[in-house]
Amino acid sequence: MKKIHCFLILCVFSLILGVNFSAADNNYPQKAITIIVPFSPGGGADTYIRMVVPYISKQLGNAAIVVKNIPGGDMITGLMKIYHAKPDGYTLGLFMTPGQAVRQVVGGVNYDLSKVTWLGRISSMDYVMALSPKSKFKTLQDLQQADKVILGVANISGAIGTLISCEKLKIKITPLSHRGSQEAILAAIRGDVDVVQFPITTMRTAIKAGDLNPILVFSKKRATEFQNVLTINELGHPELVDIVKIGYYLGGPPNITPSVVDILKKAVEKALTDKELHMMADKVNRPIIEANAQESNDEINEIINSYTPFKKILSNYLK
C-alpha cells in the first residue's frame, strides 16, 4: 500500500514538474535519452521497446529514457528523424527489418542502414504460414496447384519477404492489404483470405485457439511449439529463412562519439542479457533473442545483401 502511495506521489510530481532522473555518471548521460519508435503506440515493436527500456535505463544509472512514437511514411518518417539526429547519443531509435532494408534496396530513400551506429538486436522472429480453416485449400500442395490464392498482408513493404517466398514456392498469390497484421489475421479467421504469413508471436494466439492451421514455418529447424509443421529448410529453400524474418534492432545516427558508443553498447548488451528481462519476456511470449552491436551490424549488412538480387521484384511491388 505504502509503495503505491509513494509511486503515486512520485509520478504526479514527475509529470507536473518534468523531473529528470539524471544518471549518476557525470559524463554520459547527463540528460534524458530519446528512443524514437517509427510506429504508433501499441503493436509488437512498440511493446518490445517499452519492455526493454527500464533495463537499459538501469544499466545507465537509472537515466531517463523517453520513448517517442513517430509513425508514418511506412516507418521512414521516424527513421529519418533517427538517422539525421545529432550524433551525441541522446537520440536513438528502434529499427525493423526487413521493411526498412527493403526500401533501401529499392532506392529513392535518403538513408544507409550500413552507416547506422548499431547497438544491438532485441529480438528476431521466424514466420509461420497458416491457412484459414474456412479456405478451400488444406495443404501447401493445394496452394501450389491453385490459380489464385488470396494472401492477407498488413502492408506491402512489410510483406515483401512473404511475397518473395510465395514466388519461390510457386504459389500464385493475390496480396490483399489490411490496416495491420491483426486485421489480416481476423480476415483469415473469417475466411475472407486464404492464407496469412506473420511472425510466430503475432499468430500464436489464433493458432493455439484453432482459428488458423499452420502449414509452414520459416526456420532452419522445427519450432518447439510446431513440431508437426514443415520448415522451409526441409522444402529445400534455406535461403528464405533470413529473407522471411522480422528483426527489431536498437541503433543511433551515424558517427556517434566513440566514448558514448562504448557506454551505450555495454549498457544495451547488459540490459538484453538480463535474466529478469528474459524471464518476463518469455512469460508474455515475447522472447528476447539478442545480438550484440557487432553481430547486429553484420546481420543488417547480410539482410541488405540477401535482398539485393530481388531488387526487380521488390521494385514491382513497391511502385
Partner: protein, 496 residues
C-alpha cells in the same frame, strides 16, 4: 462468474485502487481536453509508470485514462469547435452552434449525461456479448465496412445547409483529398510529390484542428466578437441538458447501439461511429430543420456513440486479442507487459481482470461526467471571453495540439492549410462538415470497396445479409424524402 465479478470489483474498492482510478481519470481528462492528444498518447505516457504496479492496478489506471478521454474531447468540441479527435467530430456539428447561441451549458449537460450513460450501455453490452462476441465480430467483413462508410457519407445529404450543390462539391473535395497518400491496397504513392509525410495521406486530427479550431479562431479574430456573441449564457442550461437526454431517450439508445456495434468491428474506427449515430438521429427525426444549427439531439446521438464504442471495442480485444481501435492496441501492449495476454486465455483464466476493466470504464466515465457537469456552468462562460483573448489561445493550442500528436512539423503545416481552407469554405458558403466527413471516411470507403472486390467480387455487397440490409437502409434514407414528395398528393390550397 459471480466470483470473477466480485474479484474484478474489489481492487477498485481499495484506497489505492480508487486513487489510481482518480489519477487515470484526471490524466485522461487533461489529454482529452488538449486538441490533438487523446487515448493513445495518454496510455503511452502512463505505461512506464505502471511498471511497479500489479496487473489489476495497472489496468485500473490505464482504462480510467482511456475512458475519460472521449467526454473531455467533447468539451472543446462544444466550446471552441475543436474536436480532440475524429471520434468527437460530429459533436461540433450541433454542439458549437449551441455555444454560439449562449447554450453551451445545455450542450455540455447533454454531452456529459449521454457520455456517462453511453459508456454504461457499452459496458453492459460488453458483459452480455462476451459469450457470443466471437460470432458478432465474425459477422462483419469488408462489404459491411463499406456499407457503414457509405452510410456515414450519406450524412452529407442531410447536413447540407444552403445549396446542396455546394455541399456535394465540398464532399467531392473531401473525397479527392482522401486519395492523397499510399494506396491502401497496392501501396503505390498517390499525389505524394516524393514527400514521405504525404505517404500516410492527410491525417484526420490536424485536418480537423485546422478546419474547425484554426478557422474559428481566424473568424473570431476578424469579427472581434466572443463565441456566444450577444447571447446571454443560460445558467439553468446544464440541467436542461441532463433532462434532454431523457426527453430524447430513443435518440440516445439508437446512438449507443450504433456506437457499440461500430466499436465491436475492428478496423472501422470511432470516426464512423459518431457520424453514423449523427446520421441516424437526423434521418429518424421528424423535424430535421435544426440539425447543424444547434439541435441537442445531434449532440446526444454523437456523444452516446462516442462513449459506447469503447465498450464495444473491448469485445474483439478480449475475445480474439485483436484491438478494436488504436487506444485498444496500446492498452493491449500494456496488458502484455503486465503478463496478461488478451485473447481466449484471459477470458478463461483471468475473467476478474476483464470485470476490473469493465467496472473501471464505467466508474471513470461517471467520474469525468460528474466533473464535467459540476464545471459546465463555469466552462460555458469561456464562450463570453472577448475574441482578442480567446482567438490567439485557440490558435496556439491548435498548433501545439497538431504538433504534439506525432511530433511532426508536417502536421502543423496541414493544420494551418486546413485552417485557411476551412475559413474560406465557410465564408463562401460551402460545407465544412461535408468536406471533413468525406475526408475522414474516404480511405476506409476505397479500402473496403477494393477488399470486397478482391475477396468476394461484386456479389459480396449484396449476398451477405448485414451488408444487404445496410444497403437497403441507405437506399431508403436517401430516397425517402423524394418519395414522400412524389407520393404526397397536394391538399386543397397547399403548395408543394
Amino acid at each position: 462468474m459471480l466470483e470473477a465479478v466480485i474479484n474484478g470489483l474489489l481492487p477498485l474498492l481499495t484506497w489505492s485502487g480508487f486513487m489510481l482510478l482518480l489519477l487515470g481519470t484526471l490524466m485522461g481528462m487533461l489529454f482529452g481536453i488538449l486538441p490533438g492528444l487523446g487515448g493513445p498518447q495518454v496510455l503511452a505516457l502512463l505505461i512506464p509508470i505502471t511498471y511497479g504496479l500489479d496487473s489489476q492496478m495497472a489496468t485500473i489506471v490505464l482504462v480510467a485514462a482511456m475512458g475519460a478521454v472521449p467526454f473531455s474531447g467533447s468539451i472543446t468540441a462544444i466550446l471552441i469547435n475543436t474536436p480532440g479527435t475524429g471520434a468527437s467530430a460530429a459533436t461540433t456539428f450541433d454542439g458549437f452552434p449551441l455555444s454560439q447561441q449562449g447554450k453551451a451549458g445545455l450542450a455540455l449537460g447533454a454531452s456529459a449525461t449521454a457520455s456517462a450513460l453511453g459508456a454504461i450501455f457499452g459496458a453492459i453490452v460488453l458483459s452480455f456479448l462476451i459469450p457470443i462476441g466471437r460470432e458478432v465480430v465474425m459477422a462483419f467483413s469488408y462489404p459491411e465496412f463499406f456499407m457503414m462508410a457509405i452510410m456515414g457519407l450519406s450524412v452529407i445529404a442531410v447536413v447540407s445547409q444552403g445549396s446542396p450543390w455546394k455541399c456535394l462539391i465540398s464532399g467531392g473535395l473531401g473525397l479527392l483529398l482522401s486519395t492523397i497518400g499510399s494506396d491502401p491496397i497496392t501501396g503505390a504513392g498517390r499525389f505524394t510529390f516524393g514527400n514521405f509525410y504525404l505517404w500516410d495521406g492527410i491525417k484526420p486530427v490536424p485536418a480537423l484542428i485546422g478546419m474547425f479550431a484554426i478557422a474559428e479562431s481566424v473568424e473570431l479574430f476578424i469579427k472581434k466578437i466572443s463565441i456566444a456573441g450577444q447571447h446571454e449564457i443560460q445558467i439553468s442550461g446544464v440541467w436542461d441538458g441532463v433532462k434532454s437526454v431523457f426527453q430524447h431517450f430513443g435518440v440516445f439508445i439508437r446512438g449507443s447501439i450504433v456506437g457499440t456495434i461500430i466499436g465491436i468491428v475492428p478496423g472501422v474506427g470511432g470516426v464512423v461511429a459518431n457520424f453514423l449515430a449523427y446520421a441516424q438521429a437526423v434521418q429518424t427525426a421528424k423535424d430535421k430543420s435544426k440539425f447543424g444549427k444547434g439541435d441537442i439531439r445531434g449532440v446526444i446521438a454523437a456523444e452516446a456513440a462516442n462513449n459506447a464504442k469503447d465498450g464495444g471495442a473491448l469485445v474483439p480485444t478480449v475475445v480474439f486479442g485483436i484491438p478494436g481501435s488504436l487506444e485498444m492496441a496500446v492498452l493491449l501492449g500494456a496488458l502484455i507487459l503486465h503478463g496478461l495476454e488478451p485473447g481466449p486465455d484471459l477470458l478463461i483464466n483471468r475473467l476478474d481482470v476483464i470485470f476490473t476493466l469493465i467496472f473501471t470504464l464505467v466508474i471513470a466515465n461517471l467520474l469525468v461526467s460528474s466533473l464535467g457537469l459540476a464545471s459546465a456552468g463555469y466552462l460555458a462562460k469561456l464562450t463570453k471571453i472577448p475574441s482578442s483573448y480567446i482567438a490567439p489561445v485557440i490558435f496556439c493550442l491548435s498548433l501545439i495540439g497538431a504538433y504534439s500528436m506525432n511530433n511532426l512539423f508536417g502536421d502543423v503545416i496541414v493544420a494551418l492549410c486546413f485552417g485557411f481552407l476551412g475559413y474560406f469554405v465557410k465564408r463562401l458558403g460551402y460545407s465544412r462538415i461535408a468536406l471533413i466527413i468525406a475526408l475522414l471516411l474516404g480511405k476506409i470507403t476505397q479500402e473496403s470497396f477494393h477488399q470486397t472486390l478482391v475477396s468476394m467480387g461484386v456479389k459480396g455487397f449484396f449476398l451477405r445479409p448485414i451488408s444487404l440490409s445496410l444497403f437497403i437502409i441507405i437506399f431508403i434514407f436517401l430516397t425517402l424524402p423524394y418519395l414522400r414528395t412524389f407520393i404526397k398528393k397536394p391538399q386543397k390550397g397547399e403548395v408543394v
